[in-house]
């Protein structure tokens, strides 16, 4: 097994840019290929800004060293043929994913492997015709990956287990926090957990139990404080004298009771979506969305720093 020295970033929107920072920050050589016109100028400036924010947030010191490890490749084969790992973050459309995967496949060195950033598709939906599909899988980050460390590694039915293990090792080596799924499932783990919480939040809101602001508050001033450093299992493990099984024995029936009262249909009620959106726009006018996104990234940095 070769050491990973060079990583190719294929597709460098916000997700690909974050990946470039993750790998360069960890000392890897990064080659970015993005098919857009003027890619280098636009993407280079955005990466510089993001790295400057990291330095300002106290999360890294040497911006120059990070940036010096990133170069751009006009052609896909130039990026891929010399790399040890490809992180593909192309546009999220199934035909694009198929086409880009086949193009990567054509130039992939015999020792290299590939992870796709897709959140919406299983790898089996676009890797099938690749000759190197045993070395291809989903490596799904959270946006932005240079601030949120979680990465889901999802093998297809063709992915060799040792390649999935290599991806996990690489992620740990570059400072991300990797999760290994045993097989494909829509939404993987992260979006299924988020979806479960959102379903309940929308149901409570649709039925008028609380405002959207108060439901948000319940998470950000209650549940979320713990979940920032402990998962749901560790949380309940510490919340009963003898741990998780003790908690399930004491409170499992109560939680089952809630489930029984839930609606079978978990679609988000369109009226509730419209009303929640209107409530949000009163709190945060559309023109302030971007400023609030910057605030979010600053807060993320503070939380990440507080956890160290």
């Amino acid at each position: 097994m070769n050491a990973i020295r060079t990583v190719a970033i294929v597709g460098a929107g916000l997700v690909g840019q974050g990946w470039a920072i993750v790998f360069a920050r960890a000392g890897k050589q990064v080659v970015i290929h993005d098919a857009r016109e003027n890619a280098e100028a636009i993407i280079g400036a955005q990466i510089e800004k993001a790295v400057a924010d990291l330095v300002e947030g106290g999360l890294c010191d040497d911006a120059g060293a990070i940036l010096s490890r990133i170069r751009f490749a006009r052609d896909l084969d130039d990026a891929v043929s010399g790399c040890d790992y490809v992180q593909e973050s192309a546009f999220e459309r199934i035909d694009v994913k198929r086409e880009v995967s086949l193009a990567i496949d054509a130039f992939l060195p015999a020792h290299a492997f590939v992870g796709s950033s897709t959140s919406g598709f299983p790898g089996s939906a676009f890797y099938e015709d690749c000759k190197n599909r045993a070395r291809m899988m989903v490596v799904h980050p959270v946006n932005p990956p240079h601030l949120v460390p979680l990465v889901e590694i999802v093998p297809t039915p063709w992915t060799a287990p040792e390649e999935a293990a290599r991806a996990r090792q690489l992620m740990e080596d570059v400072g991300q926090s990797a999760v290994s799924l045993s097989r494909e499932i829509p939404g993987f783990v992260l979006n299924r957990l988020q979806g479960a919480l959102l379903d309940e939040a929308f149901a409570l809101y649709a039925e008028g139990y609380a405002t959207a602001e108060d439901i948000d508050r319940t998470v950000r001033d209650g549940l979320g404080l713990r979940w920032a450093f402990m998962g749901p299992f560790e949380t309940i493990d510490l919340n009963a004298p003898k741990g998780l099984a003790d908690y399930a024995e004491r409170l499992g029936a109560m939680y089952s009771g809630f489930a029984g009262q839930r609606k079978a249909n978990r679609d988000w009620v369109p009226e509730a979506v419209a009303r929640a959106d209107a409530e949000r726009r009163e709190v945060l006018p559309a023109g302030d969305l971007d400023a609030r996104r910057s605030w979010r990234d600053e807060m993320l940095m503070r939380i990440v720093k507080a956890k160290r």
Copy 2:
């Protein structure tokens, strides 16, 4: 409407102790009544320790001033008859809640009101026979309330709306973060949201998609970093160019798809509970649970501080 100067704490286990700190820290006079033998010695020492931890964590300065505002009352009537508000945190059993509520009811000043810390029962299950039930409700904290600010205010069918509003105002005044439910629902908002996430976590675990450690990681290194300072609605509001409704239009169908694949029966599979517990005990031996709880409280203080 009178100002709230004096708060009676009825029942002072860990939750009641946290409440005593919340109110005393905010300048209220606090009178604790706890029926146990030796209550003052035991509880006093535990509160002193918790306040010292707050000072050490940089979350407050003057331990002496806080402690000087707390006194103990051997008899319930001594605690309640001179107070403006009662926070009841008696043992979580329905007959105990009924009995204690009636005892408080008998001595409650005409201007005072009552909140119960219960997480498991709606107020209507134990306030019915109280003559002052219009001034009684659930005021449900998260443990420990002096570290986690979230409080759920849940009226019974008899609670006067202005009394629920007063409770919300009091909670905001003492630095808690209050959520107002329009009416009773089992689990209130917080535990329903937690339950939804736990149900999905247990289902994924039971079906072998990931280890308990990796599911925990997905929350603590992914979803939870945002949820520590933004709720689920604000999170998706910032995750689509035009906000929440835009997000629902782009991704609502995907989330509905997950729900459709979920099992109708959301009971926690006993075999999965046993296996998750065994996995936790490998990571954290039973003898280390208490030390890990102290670590949790330290981490909570760091997160709370980072948010300021």
